[in-house]
Symmetry: C2
Subunit: 570 residues, 2 copies
Amino acid sequence: MIEGVKQQKWWGWGEEGHSYGYKDKPKFAPFVMKKVGVDIALPVKPIPPFSSLDVPPSRLSESLRQTLVGILGETYVQTDDETRVVHAFGKGVRDLVRVRRGELGRVPDVVLYPGTQREVERLVDAVVDADAVLIPFGGGSNIVAALEAEPGESRQVVSVNLGRLNKVLEIDEVSGLAHIQAGVFGPDMEDQLQARGWTMGHHPDSFVWSTLGGWIATRSSGMQSDKYGDIADITRGLTMVMPGRVLELRPLPSTSSGPSVREMVLGSEGRLGIITSAWVNVHRVPEVREIQAYFYPTYADGLKACRQIVESDAEVMMARVSDALETEYIMANGKKGSKLSSLVSKGIQKLMLQKGWDLSQIAMSFVGFEGSKSHVRYTKGIVGKIVRDNGGMGVGKGPGALYDQKKYDTPYLRDFMLDRGLVCDVSETTTPWAYAEQMHTNATGAFYKAMDELGLRGVVFCHLSHSYHSGACQYFTFAINDDSENNLVTYDVAKRAIQQAFMDNHGTVSHHHGVGEEHSPWMEQDISPAGVHIQRTLFEGIDPGRNLNPGKIIHDGAPGISTNSADHMA
Amino acid sequence: MIEGVKQQKWWGWGEEGHSYGYKDKPKFAPFVMKKVGVDIALPVKPIPPFSSLDVPPSRLSESLRQTLVGILGETYVQTDDETRVVHAFGKGVRDLVRVRRGELGRVPDVVLYPGTQREVERLVDAVVDADAVLIPFGGGSNIVAALEAEPGESRQVVSVNLGRLNKVLEIDEVSGLAHIQAGVFGPDMEDQLQARGWTMGHHPDSFVWSTLGGWIATRSSGMQSDKYGDIADITRGLTMVMPGRVLELRPLPSTSSGPSVREMVLGSEGRLGIITSAWVNVHRVPEVREIQAYFYPTYADGLKACRQIVESDAEVMMARVSDALETEYIMANGKKGSKLSSLVSKGIQKLMLQKGWDLSQIAMSFVGFEGSKSHVRYTKGIVGKIVRDNGGMGVGKGPGALYDQKKYDTPYLRDFMLDRGLVCDVSETTTPWAYAEQMHTNATGAFYKAMDELGLRGVVFCHLSHSYHSGACQYFTFAINDDSENNLVTYDVAKRAIQQAFMDNHGTVSHHHGVGEEHSPWMEQDISPAGVHIQRTLFEGIDPGRNLNPGKIIHDGAPGISTNSADHMA
């Protein structure tokens, strides 16, 4: 551990000692039992001690070590086992299962912690000169296998943790732009900005454990993207260190200077270089911020309402709607006596029944409003009418406030479930609006078909998470009751079924999680073989020696998730 | 001429018989006399007949001709002189001066008019197989030398006019997406969309004489981009024909699938292939559309107000403000007895003087509003307050309606001026807001310094044309009194001074005109040498034989506008 650089626990999400708690949520255990037949109250196997892992020794050569120490100093060239294992993976379920089992794969040989832009330049050149492999590392929250070396990598593997590059360097208060180092974590960055009255407004689920550079490298999107934009919109300029070169893109609101180099760096996942800082749009902290909750008779009604909100003159900060099962899940997460748990109180239930709603089909929605008091009032008026037009009803601010407090806790649930023999993960996609409902039906259908074929119990639910003029992102969460040694094959089958449904229903491989190795098999279906050819041409031209995070986004062999899985489980 | 494909006149902008008229604008001739000392009422030299040009013969080989005729039919393989000359240039002042002088450079050897996607695929392969050069051609309105072959090109040069690909193929009314062929001109496209109640909302100055494919290939932006976005935002999917491949990007509202191939095609100016169709965002024609005019005491006040409008809760369709000189120019374009000419009527002048305004400094602004009646009222309220806070005053809808009618006429003025010995052109850039005023001062200052050094009279004026969260585009128009044979060197000096000021004041090489050859010399300053390396890697990797519009965006030699000029004038 390096002072001042946050590090996740080696076996799961976030900090040691912080985990999902259900004891004050009386409906949660029955919900899990009903859906997947698991008793979460049973005792769980403890996580084995780190010392029980068989960590392969570092292959760092003495000569490269000395070069790196010369650049960074001893402290910032780490080769201890735990640091290396923490940097060997992201936090996808495939990562979590493997690390718990001690299947560590190709663990990096050294982890570097540069403290300046110049140090990054020098270390990139040193690593490439030594024909080693360079993998940039932000918060380690990646879930698409973008952080691990290729299984058969025989060269030295160097992970570069950007965590010491964590400062807001400058705020241009006239332009609403901030120059920020890439290694800063979400909360630290917002603290620095908000101390001066500014916010970036970018809040992905991973916010607490992800960094600006990671967001850019994976084309992240935050919960408030309807107002603030995706990271691709927010990022106006950036600096990226490449072998022998430094790319400097000054902050520009818009430009017509050929194919967008900015948009090539966005989503590049380390394959073009290491992003060290960026110029991003920042906004004054709004006068009013409010999240209202609504219910619709069905998810389809909620989807339609979200589309109408985007089409309308209202500009909202967020518009989410959960399908029936996710609505049930949200309710099951209500604390005893809380607003959430009393939401479908007798009174509201009665009202719903009077309206002829089927309570098993109701869909909960959160809509966020920001701006001046009068603007929030105006916008709520427009949204309220759309809600009513679609048969919905408002239930006030209480649930939204709770959502706002708890929004970053979900990833802890994955470890909790894994402790109890449940394999959980997420997949998300965008489609044009015309295919949103069909996508929901067919992606969930594909998952349940896979469960039937496997003879396993699983559950999948979904919410619409980000809206655009022409379509929306739907975010699927699934859990499968499989405590066997075979659970990653099970995961593979489920994940593959959902991803293929994305392709078959006008969706994309990912809206905001990136490609890594995990989504690579669908790239030709997504952007066509010619699109893959263009990306490959770029990567091979910039990095002919395959030193920059090779194998991510586009595989050089013939990728396939089943072979991936075999590799990973070998 | 091919039936159904609009063609501009060989020597200037737009249609034969359509030109700028000033006789009903009593203030215009005095304005020109005062600013640059030219009497526009004097007789002008007639344009020489086309037959007087010495057009180099087509070098098309019989074998390639036969192949192309086999693909397209005789009618759509044109080698006549006028068609070839029309396709030899865009409409920059450098183009107009050269074509009038009969300095035709490397005229294409054949012009093709494919009628289907499949024909484009076959012709691209045939042309590349023959090692010929392929230049896609839309409306021919380009002003950055992106349409002409390199001066020394010894291979056959093939211009591909996309004008027969002019249909709106499909409207997805749920998603607000339209699938449109790339060769459609602006008005034809909007007619097809509006007949079904839809609009794309993309209105560049060139609208009448430019095409969807051209907008995409150059990263165009329209006057209403504050609401509808730049073409890069509007374009959600596309098809591009490459040698031996077809890139198919399906329409997606947003995606995290690696470096954005969509954003590589945007702005590619023919260097990656030929765009044949695109999926674009379309919107319902709004209930209300209104352009309000305002005056500010100074341009600086207007800039500040536009920034505050973007920051505010109002979402406007457009916010323009002209500097003092452009305001004077707009007034000078008022027809006798029109609202515009009476704007600075005695009454309003008196009011301005009472407020202590210096009438030589006033800045005129147009702000566009769209949406429901109540939304337009709400938004106008917010804007009205900002105008007042910045010392401005509203003068109603009259001038805006006139602006709206006449907005596409300005390019005709360039030919009119050239007839009278005035070299005119435009340069535009974006900066962050913090540098907007400095950019205006220094870019105009650089122009006047160049005029002083040349000992010539010139005038430059400017408006803010497109606003973003973090900055804005400023659009400079300049005219120089130089009727000599040397006028392109003069142009070069002026253009170079302005473009270098863009670089020196935090601006970009172009906001929406693209790069071509004209802006290529500043690419390293704009996106840094590493950015140029990335673009070059992409172009050379995709097109190793240099068949796809070579020399555009990134020169392969050592580009410099002075050597360009020498080439062009040789």
